[in-house]
C-alpha cells in the first residue's frame, strides 16, 4: 500500500532524509526507532505533506499514486493520518466541531453525504469509548490546556474518527504513564483490522509489547540502516544504538 523509494528531503537546505526505502503492505505494523535527530519526524512530516520540507529525490507511492505532489488535505482524504509528536493547541475551535468538519470533508471527497449532527454524535460517542475520551474533552478547544496524555489520546481519537488506511504515529507513547500507554495502545489495536497499516515511531520498546509490530526498522542519519522483527526492538532497548552506528560507519 505504501512504497517509499530513495526518498531524499531537505529542510532549510539541510539534507535530513538521505535515500530512504520502505515497503508496507496492507495490515502491517512497522515500528521505526532511531536516535534523536535521525529523521523520524521528518519522514512522518514528509508523508503528511508538511510544506517546509523539500523533497529532492525519490518517490512515495500510496495505493498506486505518487502522493508527493498532493496537498496535505488530499493525502488525509486518501487515507493517510499523522498522529503528531507535539499536537498543537487551537484555542477557539472545539474538538467536536473540528472533527465534524474533518469527517465531513473526508466523506465529501469520497462522494458520501455529510453526517448530520445526530449521526456525527453517534459516531463520536462510539469512538470516544475507544480511547476513553470524555465528553468535556470533545467540547473543549482542540488540545487547549490538555495534559500530555490527553493530547496523545486525542490524536488517536481523531484517527479513530477518520478511519485512515495508514496511521503514522510519531512518538504517541512518549510521556505517557503505563495506564495511559495501555489506553492508547488498545485504541490502536482496536483499529487493526487486517487492512489498515501503521507506522509506529517510538523510542521505547515497551510500546511494542502492546502494539506488536510486524517489522522494526532503525532510522539513522536519514536512512533505514537495519530492519528486523520485534526482537530487534528488544535488542535496541538492551544495547542502545552504538553498535548500529558502528556497523553503519564501517
Amino acid at each position: 500500500m505504501l512504497s517509499i523509494k530513495n526518498l531524499k528531503a531537505n529542510i532549510e537546505d539541510k539534507e535530513i532524509l538521505k535515500g530512504l526505502n520502505l515497503e508496507i503492505n496492507p495490515g502491517e505494523v512497522h515500528a521505526i526507532m532511531g536516535p534523536n535527530g535521525s529523521g523520524k519526524s521528518t519522514l512522518a512530516s514528509v508523508l503528511a505533506g508538511r510544506e517546509e520540507y523539500n523533497v529532492t529525490e525519490g518517490e512515495v507511492i500510496f495505493n498506486g499514486e505518487n502522493i508527493l505532489e498532493m496537498a496535505p488535505e488530499d493525502r488525509a482524504r486518501k487515507g493517510i493520518f499523522l498522529a503528531f509528536q507535539y499536537p498543537i493547541e487551537i484555542p477557539g475551535v472545539s474538538n467536536a466541531n473540528f472533527m465534524k468538519t474533518a469527517v465531513n470533508e473526508v466523506r465529501k471527497s469520497k462522494g458520501l453525504a455529510p453526517l448530520d449532527s445526530k449521526e456525527f454524535l453517534k459516531l463520536m460517542r462510539e469512538k470516544m469509548q475507544l480511547v476513553q475520551v470524555d465528553k468535556t474533552m470533545t467540547q473543549r478547544s482542540v488540545n487547549e490546556g490538555f495534559s500530555g496524555g490527553e493530547k496523545k489520546r486525542n490524536e488517536i481519537f481523531q484517527m479513530a474518527m477518520l478511519e485512515p488506511e495508514l496511521g503514522v504515529l510519531d512518538e504517541t507513547d512518549s510521556g505517557l504513564d503505563i495506564d495511559a500507554l495501555r489506553i492508547v495502545a488498545d485504541g490502536v489495536n482496536a483499529l487493526r483490522d487486517g487492512k489498515r497499516s501503521f507506522i509506529v515511531i517510538t523510542h521505547y520498546q515497551r510500546l511494542l509489547d502492546y502494539i506488536v509490530p510486524d517489522f522494526v526498522h532503525v532510522l539513522y542519519k536519514g536512512r533505514i540502516v537495519k530492519s528486523g522483527t520485534k526482537e530487534l526492538a528488544l535488542e535496541l532497548e538492551e544495547k542502545g544504538y552504538d553498535w548500529i552506528k558502528e556497523e553503519v560507519e564501517i
Binding site: 488535505e73 493525502r75 498543537i88 473540528f98 472533527m99 474533518a102 477518520l162
Partner: protein, 432 residues
C-alpha cells in the same frame, strides 16, 4: 421635507447652506457649520487622525441634504432584519426615521420622539461636541433622528434594532444619522444598530449617537457595519454612565471601504462598568479605524476592551485606545487588549494603546499583538482533511469568535457568524 442644499468648494472644502428655508436654519446649525468651516476636515497631521486617509471623503461632492424615506418597501428591507430576533425595528434612510417601514407595535417601557424635540434638547449635544469636525457637520445637517427614551425601572424585553440605510443610488449622499438613547434609572435595554448601503455612488454615513445611562441601568449596544465597498462611514458613539450602570458595546465591522469608529465612554459616577468589544474582518482596500476613549472619572469603575482585526489583501486596520484615569478614580480596573492577524504581506495594522493614569490605586493593563497566520495550526487542520480555505476560515473564526461570544443576543450572534463565514469565504457552519 428639508429643502436645504449645499455646495462644497473643492479647494477649501468649505461647506455652506444655500436656499435655506429660514425656519430650518437654527442658530445651532449655523454655528455648527461655521465651526466646521473654521476647522475643515481633519488631516493626517492631526494626532487623532494620523493613520486615516480621508482623501476620498474630502474629494467627493456629497449631497448632505438628500431626500429621506426613498423608494424602499417593507419587502426591500426584510432581508436586512436580524433573522430570528424578537426585535422592534426602527428604519432610518439617510439618517431619517421612516415610520412606515418601522415596527408599529410598541410597548410602554419606552417612547420615541424626534431628536429635535424640546425633551431631547435636554440631552442633545451634551456629549457630542462640535469641536470634532464630523460632529459639527452632523450637528449642522442631521435630520429626522430619534430620541429613544427608556423609562425608569423598565426593561425593554424586545431588542430595539436601528436599521440604517444610506441610499446613494441616485447621487453621492452624506447621511447624518443623529440619535439619542436615554436609559433612566434601573432600566434595561438592548439595542442593535446595523448599517447598510445601497449605492452606485460613493456614500458617506456620518453617524452620531449619544447614550445617557442612568443609575443602575443596563444598556447593550451592538453595532454591525456591513456597508459595501463604495461606502465611507464615520461613527461617533458617546456614553455617559451614572452610578452602578453598565454599558456594553460590540462593534463588528465587516463591510465598508473606510470606517472610522469613535467610542467615548465617560464613567462619571462610582460603580460603573463598560465593555467595549470590536471585531474587524477586512480585505481588499478596506480601512477600519477604531478609536476608543474610556474616561474613568470616578472610583470603583471597570472597563474592559477587546479589539480584534483580521486583515487580508491591502486592508488597513487602526486601533487607538485611550484609557484616562483621573485622580479621583481610585480602585479603577481598566483593561485593554488589541489582537490582530495579518493574512497577507501587505495588510497593515497600526495599534496604539494610550494610558493616562493620575490615580495611584488602580489596576490597568493593555496589550497589543499583531501576528501572521499560524502555519502550524493550518497544517494541523489540513492533515485532518480540511482544505486550506476552510482551515483558514476555521482558524480565523476561532480568533474572532470570542468577540462575537460577548454579544448577548443569540439571534444577532447567529447572524454575525453567518456573515463571518461569508466574509471568510467558507461554507462551514460555525457554531454559536
Amino acid at each position: 421635507m428639508n429643502t436645504l442644499t449645499e455646495t462644497i468648494s473643492e479647494t477649501e472644502q468649505q461647506i455652506s447652506f444655500e436656499n435655506i428655508a429660514s425656519e430650518k436654519l437654527t442658530p445651532e446649525r449655523k454655528l455648527a457649520i461655521d465651526t466646521f468651516n473654521k476647522s475643515g476636515f481633519p488631516s493626517l497631521k492631526d494626532e487623532e487622525w494620523k493613520y486615516l486617509d480621508l482623501s476620498v471623503l474630502k474629494n467627493t461632492p456629497f449631497n448632505h441634504q438628500a431626500p429621506a424615506c426613498t423608494k424602499l418597501t417593507l419587502s426591500d428591507i426584510e432581508k436586512y432584519k436580524v433573522a430570528g430576533a424578537d426585535a422592534i425595528t426602527l428604519v432610518f434612510i439617510n439618517g431619517v426615521y421612516c415610520p412606515e417601514l418601522s415596527s408599529q407595535q410598541r410597548d410602554n417601557t419606552f417612547s420615541i420622539e424626534s431628536v429635535e424635540s424640546e425633551l431631547a434638547a435636554h440631552w442633545f449635544g451634551k456629549l457630542a461636541k462640535t469641536d470634532e469636525p464630523f460632529i459639527a457637520l452632523n450637528t449642522a445637517f442631521h435630520h429626522g433622528g430619534l430620541l429613544i427614551h427608556i423609562k425608569a425601572g423598565q426593561e425593554v424585553k424586545q431588542t430595539i434594532h436601528l436599521l440604517h440605510f444610506n441610499d446613494s443610488r441616485q447621487e453621492a449622499v452624506a447621511a447624518h444619522p443623529r440619535n439619542l438613547v436615554v436609559a433612566e434609572k434601573n432600566s434595561k435595554v438592548q439595542l442593535i444598530a446595523t448599517y447598510h448601503s445601497l449605492n452606485n455612488f460613493t456614500s458617506l454615513t456620518n453617524s452620531v449617537t449619544e447614550f445617557f445611562v442612568g443609575e443602575n441601568a443596563f444598556v447593550e449596544y451592538d453595532v454591525k457595519q456591513d456597508e459595501n465597498e463604495k461606502a465611507l462611514q464615520i461613527n461617533y458613539v458617546y456614553a455617559q454612565q451614572k452610578r452602578d450602570s453598565v454599558f456594553d458595546i460590540s462593534t463588528v465591522t465587516i463591510g465598508g471601504k473606510m470606517v472610522r469608529n469613535n467610542l467615548n465612554i465617560a464613567l462619571t459616577e462610582t460603580g460603573g462598568t463598560a465593555h467595549l468589544n470590536g471585531l474587524t474582518v477586512g480585505g481588499k482596500n478596506q480601512t477600519v479605524d477604531n478609536h476608543t476613549l474610556v474616561d474613568h472619572a470616578s472610583p470603583h469603575c471597570e472597563s474592559f476592551q477587546l479589539y480584534k482585526n483580521i486583515l487580508d489583501d491591502n486592508a488597513h486596520g487602526i486601533f487607538n485606545g485611550k484609557i484616562f484615569v483621573r485622580q479621583d478614580a481610585q480602585k479603577t480596573n481598566a483593561f485593554q487588549s488589541s489582537k490582530n492577524v495579518l493574512l497577507s504581506d501587505v495588510a497593515v495594522m497600526n495599534a496604539k494603546p494610550q494610558l493616562e493614569i493620575y490615580a495611584d490605586d488602580v489596576k490597568c493593563s493593555h496589550g497589543a499583538t499583531t501576528g501572521q497566520l499560524d502555519e502550524e495550526a493550518l497544517f494541523y487542520f489540513r492533515s485532518r482533511g480540511i482544505g486550506k480555505k476552510d482551515a483558514l476560515a476555521l482558524l480565523n473564526y476561532a480568533f474572532a469568535g470570542d468577540v462575537i461570544e460577548k454579544i448577548n443576543n443569540d439571534a444577532l450572534k447567529a447572524d454575525l457568524l453567518k456573515l463571518l463565514a461569508q466574509k471568510l469565504n467558507t461554507e462551514i457552519e460555525f457554531e454559536g
